[in-house]
Symmetry: C2
Subunit: 426 residues, 2 copies
Amino acid sequence: MSEQPEIVIVGAGFGGLFAAQALRNKPVDVVLIDRNNFHTFTPLLYQVATCALDPSEITKPVRSIFRKSRNIKFLLGEVTDVSLSENRITVQAAGSSHPIEYDYLILSGGSESNYFGNQQIEAFSFDLKSLGDAVDLRNHALRQFERAVWTEDPEEQESLLTFVVVGGGPTGIETAGALYELYNHVLDREFSGGELKARVVLVEMLDHLLRGYPSGLRQSARKQLEGLGVEVRLGTPVAEVEAGKVTLGDGTVIPTHTLVWSAGVRGTKLANLLGVDLTRANLVPVQPTLQLADFPNAYCVGDMCYLEDEHGDPYPQTIPPAQQQARLAAANIMAELNGQPLDTFRFHDRGSMATIGRSRAVAWIYKRIGMSGFLAWIAWLFLHLISLVGFRNRLNVFVNWIWNYLTYDRSVRLILEKSENKQQTE
Amino acid sequence: MSEQPEIVIVGAGFGGLFAAQALRNKPVDVVLIDRNNFHTFTPLLYQVATCALDPSEITKPVRSIFRKSRNIKFLLGEVTDVSLSENRITVQAAGSSHPIEYDYLILSGGSESNYFGNQQIEAFSFDLKSLGDAVDLRNHALRQFERAVWTEDPEEQESLLTFVVVGGGPTGIETAGALYELYNHVLDREFSGGELKARVVLVEMLDHLLRGYPSGLRQSARKQLEGLGVEVRLGTPVAEVEAGKVTLGDGTVIPTHTLVWSAGVRGTKLANLLGVDLTRANLVPVQPTLQLADFPNAYCVGDMCYLEDEHGDPYPQTIPPAQQQARLAAANIMAELNGQPLDTFRFHDRGSMATIGRSRAVAWIYKRIGMSGFLAWIAWLFLHLISLVGFRNRLNVFVNWIWNYLTYDRSVRLILEKSENKQQTE
């Protein structure tokens, strides 16, 4: 066996993936660990949830990404313990616990939905954080339409076809827009000849959408959503959730069987394993070099780390900071191995964008140029297509998007029931 | 409401689908009922199970197939009762029971795996009868490789990577071939640089493969399978199955965690609801007109019906008889409504084919011309491509096949874990 330094990366999301790619063919041995055998292109999860794309089109097996990288080894498993002082993690896999020692550690565990302690919301709502979430929402949403066909009670029918999306960020906006289009432009033709209409309500606690965007683009996003048919409720939180209805802070009661939650994230349970002080949102504070304060051989990047910019604001929990932090963590480890000084993190912000259904979007490029409408949508399309990992995915996604656009169809409309668990010979 | 005769079709497999298509735009009202909201192109289930195709590529939403057919209504639900004497079925859907009356009934419930009463086999084996089965097998098979990476025990590793397929018909042959190729031509490069090798054993009780094929093609199929690397065990049944091993009738013990069962089918539970005498394999005997003996307004077609040809042999439980029977049942109902005489079933057999991995196949065309090897494979490819329902599916399948063929890759390698069930607001 080689005597190269061993670098363990936890998580094959954007942070872990980019860190591993930055260490490809370097004189180190990399072990990349994830609970799933695939990397997920999370910005398009809402398209899986709304029947536009297949799960395999927004994912890529991790092993196939690193097929030709001899110094990168993938392991499927769940990290159940981290001992920073002993340079060791423990992985639960194949029915038992496996300790793995490291010289350097890169933690990139991502985030999970933050319900701010409200167990009611947690129990009743759908998330869009993982591929499984997206498939669950797809199954559920399609089932609501099929259920509505069987009832003659107009009130029950209305509540089955009402979808409440909470959170005015890009995920909330994109999901609300795509849900509205799925029902009112695709499915309605197939259900009772257009008699059934769906209602999509987007709820945001702040008095505007898209925090971090300039006021003109926020208003444009709202106008585009409302122009599509989505009801936008600003300045009110969700107060209560129970079977069959959602009550807003202003007292409005919305009869519904579907609540999609995209109103905030927190660090995952991985953060709790570290034994270090975390922020209120369960994030891991890091030095500007991305090292943990007391453990300089442990780095943390992406959604799960907490670092403030020069104005004292935390970096956004989006993909670009995760990618850039991952590259810096890898570079800093290589610098230390080569006896060079470490660098500190500076975020190169190329801006952000959100799509709002067919032909509508807003984009805030380099935080200088605002774009909205069709042009922003074309920019969104182009950017996401080139960012998708793997040539085959890109080609298939392109074929599907063209098809969906031209035909107003959504092909991936499967209600995949869970099969009973087989006993298995294991 | 119209006063047209009401025809209820149970099952949207090949039988039900073709019956409904034959009744499209006829002066009748059709209600088509299925437990799933999609039709499945079952001959390619094994390609979903072996990571070559996506679930949505071999399925099509039933509602989208009949989007433009105003006289055909789809309902998602499970038939829980059939009263042939009262012309009424009962459907469980959306949480309650719904009675539906009919003037004519077409039963097309298909078949399920026949374990011949062996509960051990039923508990431990994987089927390939539904889309859910295929996804389960895909998840399980990929997981075996990931588990093998974690163990250092060579015996355990070997048993994890041994796959036993039971049944020498087309499904068994195709699955065994595709499994072997997935592991030994795709995955092995990504696992420890090719150190892990998988073993695929095909077990058949008879002393030959492919019942119904001439002897030359049977031997060719066996040679092609063995040339690929699959072990073929003829003339021996599976005697016993328990956790971690399969014992054959000849005493051979195969350590394995995967048993795929494609050794026979029986009529589904729908047949038991009818209150008529069934065959030993749970099939519904029908008249040559496809009517039930005592209930001339009830027809039964496809895998679940029992009818003998002029030699006293039952028709094969494959797609072509199901399609042709479905068309005859629809035609006979229209004939009766128009006061014309009913026709009896005659099967136009265009032959059959089975593929054996990359570039290998056998074909028995019109039961006269035998073909094997590359030419048969091209014929198989062409036939399946043109049979796939829906233009988009065809294009995507074509792209994927070309991609898989050129790159030796299989893109759909997702282990999709079942997520915990959300409580839901319903």
